[in-house]
């Protein structure tokens, strides 16, 4: 018998064979390859020409943008506005600290062997918002107060998305528990709440929050526009969050509920100590995905007159001093969002894969 080590006949595919197998295996594959290849060559070359090779990156002012390519100089000069909005120059270090803390809490999540990365994550969920609450609006510990109407740009985008997620998490948990409750009225109320919020477009929610809310409240009770937008976004988001969490609750086997009851734990302890920790861990990818969705949707605050990144860019691209920089502006915004969303979605896919295998053992 054969016995000892024997190599497979074709150990590794030679490049030619690889191309054959993956690009030209049948006649229609060949056709597809050729068509797609042609498309790539004709579209990618001019695009890169515009983006990079013919583009202007530095200079002093509008006059320096003479090449045929993009005028990145414009972005370069307005970057401060795109990131901080109207936030006073002297106080921008506070926002920088928040950016650093944000990176500190979430970059370790991408590194598997980072010691204590869960703690960093937990800080991101609890300490970070607290720091933000102190640092960004100011007014504490002798920090100069900065009115929310001065917030803008990328910073505002992040604030809205982050607050939206953090605040909607607990509400989402309650709604999800309510929707699985055995009490028909509670369940009914939760279903109605969730379905109504999920049915309406975010911009109508924002519109209501931004201009109509005071009409519903008792006279004299009023909060600032940003806060109202945040409330609207949070309620809207919590309906989505509830559905994600409900998925996690459903995935927990009945045995866990029973074992917890058999040990004599009451409803809230059963949920808090046994079920939710498991369910939430299970739906982290889902939560991350809703975060991405919300992050993209923050652009809609532009429609109610808040200057997020897109709003900031839009309000400057019509500057008569610069010739036709709208495309550069939009490409810049698209790139910002893309980098964030793609990075996070990659992370969530990784996580999904990891949790997937984790379950089988």
């Amino acid at each position: 018998m054969g016995g000892s080590v024997m190599k497979p006949p074709v150990s590794r595919l030679a490049p030619v064979q690889w191309i054959r197998q993956n690009l030209f295996s049948t006649w229609y594959n060949t056709l597809l390859t050729l068509a797609v290849g042609w498309l790539l060559v004709t579209s990618v070359v001019p695009v890169f020409d515009w983006l990079i090779f013919g583009a202007t990156f530095s200079g002093d002012g509008p006059g320096d943008c003479v090449g045929k390519g993009a005028c990145w100089l414009f972005i370069n000069q307005r970057l401060n506005f795109f990131i901080y909005g109207f936030y006073p120059d002297a106080e921008q270090w506070r926002v920088d600290i928040m950016f650093a803390l944000l990176a500190l809490s979430f970059v370790p999540q991408f590194i598997d062997r980072f010691p204590g990365r869960t703690w960093f994550g937990l800080f991101g969920l609890t300490g970070l918002p607290l720091c933000g609450y102190i640092l960004i609006p100011g007014g504490w510990f002798g920090l100069e107060p900065v009115d929310s109407s001065k917030w803008g740009g990328l910073m505002l985008t992040l604030v809205i998305a982050y607050v939206g997620i953090i605040a909607s998490l607990p509400i989402g948990v309650l709604l999800a528990l309510g929707r699985r409750s055995e009490m028909p009225i509670i369940r009914g109320l939760c279903i109605v709440f969730i379905e109504v919020w999920r049915a309406v477009p975010l911009i109508t929610v924002l519109f209501m929050a931004s201009v109509m809310l005071p009409l519903f409240l008792p006279e004299g009770m009023n909060f600032e526009k940003l806060l109202r937008a945040l409330i609207g976004i949070t309620l809207w988001q919590s309906a989505y969050m509830a559905e994600v969490i409900r998925g996690g609750l459903q995935a927990i086997p009945r045995g866990q509920y029973e074992a917890a009851s058999a040990l004599g734990l009451g409803y809230w302890r059963r949920m808090g100590l046994v079920i939710l920790p498991q369910a939430l861990k299970l739906v982290i990818p889902g939560i991350v995905n809703t975060f991405i969705a919300l992050f993209k949707d923050t652009t809609l605050v532009l429609i109610i007159g808040l200057f997020d990144v897109l709003g900031a860019v839009q309000s400057t691209v019509t500057d008569p001093a610069w010739q036709n920089v709208a495309t550069e502006g939009y490409v810049f915004v698209a790139f910002c969002f893309w980098v964030f969303c793609f990075g996070i979605s990659r992370y969530s896919q990784n996580l999904e894969r990891k949790l997937d295998t984790g379950h089988k053992t």
Binding site: N22, L23, S25, N29, L32, T33, V36, G37, L40, E182, M183, P184, I185, I186, L189, E195, V196, R198, A199, V200, P201, L202, I203, T204, F207, M208, V211, M212, P214, L215, F216, L217, P218, E219, I292, K296, D297, T298, T299, L300, L302, I303, L310, A326, T327, Y330, V333, A334, F337, W338, C341, F342, S345
Partner: protein, 395 residues
């Protein structure tokens, strides 16, 4: 509960320890709280509106609107009522949603399959497309398609034209409008006949397969019938359809069918964006069918094509349909971004101009939200019916 035997201990717990009583009380409280909150809201709103002298009621719907709307599927002009603007906006919303759903579905399925293609280049390209498109905010994409593309189209006098029949410029795409002439009825009847013939053919082919086992290429023959018969019929009945060809008069083309850039941009952006999500749904749907199923099917001797058609797709559809509908709902909701580029959808026309001219925010917003809620409930209803119909039977 209703024990028949004598009970040694006092039967039934004290009411506050009985979970049923607790549940009832708790629910009653919750309901009361919700009603109270609702009442306070309504009371406040009414009081506020009263004190600020805002008129209430739906009487405004009968007043004349006085503004123009670029696109209307039902007859509309500025002398008609605000109520009419509601329907114009609603139909425009439904139109763009419908078009978007159709295009996104087709493109999404193609992309989803392309993602699984054995052709490396095609699979990669589909992946790049999906990852780029779904990570960029939709609003931005709508702006892009509207402004960037519009800038690159020629002015009306330099229109791109196709055989003097179709014209493309930055005012839109102008196509000949079919106008029925004498004999059009006959042509219509012929088309109808062709459709009936295909249906009959399908039934016949199925019967024949049941009886003799021979398989008839229904799809190809049916397609041929659907294309050839109306074409021949058109010639045979003496070309009974006249075409209202658009022509350049004054500033622009007039007559014919027009596809305005606002609709086109919104349609393209919504379809491309949603297609990226649908592609992922389709892909995971197909992958969710376990390998065992394909293997079993192959082991029975079914070739790849039939395995896909008879075993994989029917099972994948069950997984695909529910998230697919929620994408349809998202698309419909996202169509409200029309307001950013001036497409006259419900939010732009009714919650925009009409609200502003009449100032009756509460009524207008309530009506708008009710519309979206109804659409959503309607689609969920269909969804549940479908789910019930296809649910895999289990013990």
């Amino acid at each position: 509960m209703n024990s028949q035997q004598p009970v040694s201990k006092p039967s039934g717990p004290k009411p506050w320890y009985d979970p049923r009583v607790r549940a009832l009380v708790f629910q009653a409280l919750a309901l009361a709280a919700v009603f109270w909150a609702g009442w306070v809201l309504i009371d406040n709103t009414l009081a506020n509106m009263e004190s600020r002298g805002i008129s209430t009621g739906f009487g405004f719907l009968d007043q004349s609107a006085g503004f123009g709307i670029i696109m209307h599927l039902i007859p509309y002009d500025a002398t008609m009522s605000y109520g009419r603007t509601f329907w114009v906006g609603l139909l425009n919303t439904l139109l763009v949603s419908f078009l978007g759903i159709v295009a996104a579905t087709i493109l999404g399925f193609l992309l989803g399959v392309a993602r699984l293609s054995s052709n490396w280049l095609v699979a990669r390209l589909a992946l790049v497309y999906i990852e780029v498109i779904r990570n960029i905010p939709l609003l931005l994409q709508i702006f892009f398609w509207y402004f960037a593309v519009l800038r690159n189209l020629p002015a009306p006098r330099q229109s791109l034209e196709l055989a003097g029949l179709a014209f493309l410029n930055n005012r839109g795409l102008y196509l000949p409008d079919p106008v029925a002439q004498e004999g059009a009825g006959a042509l219509f009847a012929i088309c109808l006949l062709a459709v009936v013939a295909v249906v009959v053919l399908r039934i016949w082919a199925k019967r024949r397969q049941r009886a003799t086992g021979r398989i008839f290429p229904t799809f190809r023959v049916g397609l041929a019938i659907l294309v050839l018969v109306p074409a021949l019929g058109y010639l045979a009945t003496g070309a009974p359809i006249a075409w209202d060809v658009p022509e350049l008069r004054g500033f622009n083309y007039r007559g014919g069918l027009t596809l305005i850039p606002e609709l086109a941009a919104l349609w393209v952006a919504l379809s491309l964006y949603t297609a990226a999500f649908i592609a992922e749904i389709v892909r995971s749907g197909i992958l969710s069918v376990s390998k065992g199923q394909t293997e079993a099917s192959k082991a029975l001797g079914l070739p790849n094509g039939l395995t896909l058609r008879l075993v994989v797709i029917p099972q994948a559809m069950r997984v695909i349909i529910p998230p697919l509908t929620s994408q349809y709902l998202n698309l419909t909701k996202n169509s409200s971004l029309a307001t950013a580029i001036g497409y006259p959808d419900l939010v732009a026309v009714f919650m925009g101009t009409t609200l502003n001219q009449t100032g009756q925010a509460v009524e207008v917003v309530a009506m708008t939200m009710a519309v979206y809620l109804s659409i959503s409930l309607f689609i969920s209803l269909l969804m549940n019916l479908y789910n019930r119909a296809v649910a895999i039977k289990e013990r």
